[in-house]
């Protein structure tokens, strides 16, 4: 007799760790679900590792995420001024 509750069984089936049926297509569907679970897991691990490296690099240059957020308006302002300086206006084009 299985000790798993129906919820547990459904979850295991969703993640591809519970057989769906006997047919070849059922087995393939289970394999595809399991592959997807692993792919998602690797993606999450990759994102976490990236976040950790990002945090370490911020700390090493004496910066912080909070500081980075505070600087966003200045960064946006500088970016706007930089792009407006590069694009000549119609009036300036006419004067030249």
């Amino acid at each position: 007799m299985s000790s798993q509750t129906p919820d547990e069984s459904g979850l295991r089936e969703y993640f591809g760790f519970e057989p769906i049926g006997e047919a070849e297509t059922d087995q393939k569907l289970q394999e595809l679900k399991r592959r997807k679970t692993f792919r998602r897991l690797y993606t999450v691990i990759g994102l976490l590792v990236g976040a950790v490296f990002f945090y370490i690099s911020l700390v090493s240059v004496g910066f912080s995420v909070a500081e980075l957020v505070r600087q966003i308006p200045q960064f946006a302002d500088a970016l706007t001024r930089s792009t407006s300086r590069r694009r000549p206006t119609t009036a300036s084009r006419l004067s030249t």
């Binding site: 070849e24 297509t25 059922d26 393939k28 569907l29 394999e31 595809l32 592959r35």
Partner: protein, 258 residues
Amino acid sequence: MSTLRVENLTKEYGDVTAVDDVSFEIEDEFVVLLGESGAGKSTLLRCINGLTEPTSGSIYLDDQPLADTQSEVGMIFQQHNLVDGLSAYVNALTGSLDRSGFVQSLLQWQRRTDKQRSLDALETVGLLDEAHQRVSQMSGGQQQRVGIARALVQDPALLLADEPVASLDPASAETVMEYLKKAANVHEVTALVSLHQVNIAAHFGDRFIGLRDGQKLFDITRDELTPDCIDELYGNVETVGLADTESAAESPPPELKP
């Protein structure tokens, strides 16, 4: 099982008449459209599929008029038209898009029956083991079989194929045609396939409709398909044969004019 009825179909592009007053009816058959390039085969298929609007005439599927694109009509293209970055399974699953919402499709939350149907279709075309493989890593023949699977997932009443094996080598072409015929038989779908290769057409077709200059030249069964019919359709074209070795060695190679 379904019946396709085409009545006095005409399609004009400006002064050019691509399809000229074509009528026929097919019921639960594997029908092959034959004809030279520009004979109107693709235009006829596109009219039936709703991708092109006919100038005049009517098309009925099971006595219901066919207008615009409909999920009841599955289409297999010469260039496969698959999403390269996705697996064979997900590509086949796109055949169920009309039955699932935008978010469902985006997150692959389709119903279990649709997922099962995708794998069944891939099994029909002999690609169940490769279901997880990206289609960009597959051969042209395998990609076309994924295209067939996608059309089957649509659960169509009519299957159209526009020169499905034109870009394949002879062996792959035969394999794809075998799977296409099997798919039509297993899923009990009426099929209308345009082909250039007469030998393949003769081997797989139950019935043949010949088009020349947009007009229907013949509508015959396999027993009635004779070399004379083919000559009449394509003209007395002498195809280039294999040169015999001695004469090939003696004669200089043909020079290309600049």
